[in-house]
Amino acid sequence: MNIRHKTILPWLLVSPYIIHLLVFVAFPILFSLVLTFNKWNIISPMEYIGLSNYSRILHDRQFWKAVGNTLIFLSIHIPLQIIVAISLAEILNQKIKLRPFFRGAFFLPVIVSGVVVSILWQQLLGFDTGIFNRMLTSIGLGRIGWLIDPNWAMPSIAIMATWKNVGLYIVLFLVGLQTVPKAYYEAADIEGATKWQKFWHITLPMINPTIFMVVILSTIGGFSLFIEPYVMTGGGPLNSTLSAVLYIYKQAFFYYHMGYSATLGIFFAMIILFVIIIQKKFIEK
């Protein structure tokens, strides 16, 4: 009795996880695969259409537009994020005095909902009365259509996302910077190394794991971008801010193309994993 009890009990404890895994993870993945071969709007019966969803995706200009938009977002967001976060972390690492205050302030946008940040920045980036354009005109420059010019809309969102997330990465880099042994810098001082040399040859290699993590988290963030374009631009102008998740959402809940949106989901997931593998190769060098 007691032995039987002992073998069943652990399974009882983990049973909530098993149920959750089967219902909300395993089944959805399998069902997702089934959906990719079907056309379905939930209401009428499912219709088998073979590989149509797959061939459609390859010719879907909006799908490729969303992939391209995300890559534009990442190519601005990731370098900007790393440079700003490392610089601010370096400054905070030296001037101890007001560190908790600044760290707390940088962290503010991290904890606030993306909805708040989007509504707020929509005003700051407004064409006629936004603070940014008011500053530009006050120093005699022309206005920029931050959110209404197709060339500027995605970069604007990338800048905003950097503002929102950078506080978290400052803290992560601060942790990273504090793991660098002081003796390394002292040795470099004796050799007469400049500040820049010390940063390039000591600091950077030591915080490489943190950089890698920031790249991965930002990449996933970029492919998960949804509420920012949803609130600020609705994906426009000219689909220039159509993101991966926004496109899945539109296909599923504007047009009720469940089969096609499931296919999109799987394709985007594969692209994410592919991009991360490439980044891993690149950074490890």
């Binding site: 073998t7 983990v14 959805p28 997702s32 503010l108 904890i111 992560l172 809940f253 997931a269």
Partner: protein
């Protein structure tokens, strides 16, 4: 740079509509008109209540189930334990894009659309929380558990009466991350909730800002954003240190 936009948002929401175009910091007069309009138009109080119910239930579920499963994985010997652990790690790497649509269909089939169940139940188990609890429980001395067993404690009592009081940092960290993530979640509510009375705060504010109901009154839009930001900002003021530590540790683990 990081605080000013929030200050501007607050003062703009309190300023008369006509002043928004020129406002920099302090409006000439303070008016609560925008908030009045907002309260008349959308059930923001109800949304606040919904958000509290959803985020608290999700957090409680994650803590209870996470510690049960984390305990089994760290302290009990049974066949298949390592397999489950690796499955958990594997599921953490899966992008949510794959399961989004089929999970919505599940909600439809379960009849959970427009219920709290859709917002709470799928989120009550969190792989990340399980892993964190597993790590933390491993650091607790086995003697403590053995002593409790000799006193005749069952496994559940061991978890909630012996381990919990000794795991405050883990509970706080996981609690804050879970609560915040649930509070700020907006995509899933947009998908599964259509009834305005059941909407969470971020969802209601989003639909208000995007749909025509704000009628391009910027002040009212900003007022809704202020109300949405307020609860989490208040919590942040009191628990700033824990917020930063929690978020940092969550980032480092991933």
């Amino acid at each position: 740079m990081f605080i000013y936009p929030f200050v501007w948002m607050l003062s703009a929401s309190l300023a008369p509509e006509s002043e928004l175009a020129t406002l920099t910091v302090i409006p000439s007069e303070i008016t609560f008109e925008n908030y009045q309009v907002l309260l008349d138009k959308i059930p923001i109080g109800r949304a606040l209540l919904n958000s509290v119910i959803v985020a608290s239930s999700v957090t409680l579920g994650v803590l209870v189930f996470g510690s049960m499963i984390g305990y089994a994985l760290s302290r009990l010997e049974f066949r298949g334990r390592d397999t489950i652990f690796y499955i958990i790690l594997f599921t953490m790497t899966l992008p949510f894009h794959i399961t989004l649509i089929p999970n919505y269909i599940l909600m439809v089939k379960f009849g959970w659309v427009d219920t709290y169940a859709a917002l709470i139940i799928p989120y009550m188990i969190n792989a990340f929380a399980i892993i964190m609890f597993r790590q933390y429980f491993k650091s607790i001395p086995q003697d403590l558990i053995d002593a409790a067993k000799i006193d005749g404690c069952g496994e559940l009592r061991i978890i909630f009466q012996i381990l919990w009081p000794n795991s405050i940092p883990a509970l706080v960290t996981i609690g804050i991350i879970t609560f915040m993530a649930s509070w700020n979640e907006v995509l899933w509510p947009l998908i599964v909730i259509r009834d305005e009375q059941l909407m969470t705060m971020p969802q209601l504010v989003t639909l208000f800002a995007v749909g025509g109901r704000a009628e391009s009154q910027l002040g009212v839009k900003l007022a809704s954003a202020v109300l949405l930001a307020l609860p989490i900002l208040v919590a942040y003021m009191f628990f700033q240190k824990y917020f930063i530590q929690s978020m940092a540790s969550s980032g480092l683990k991933e």
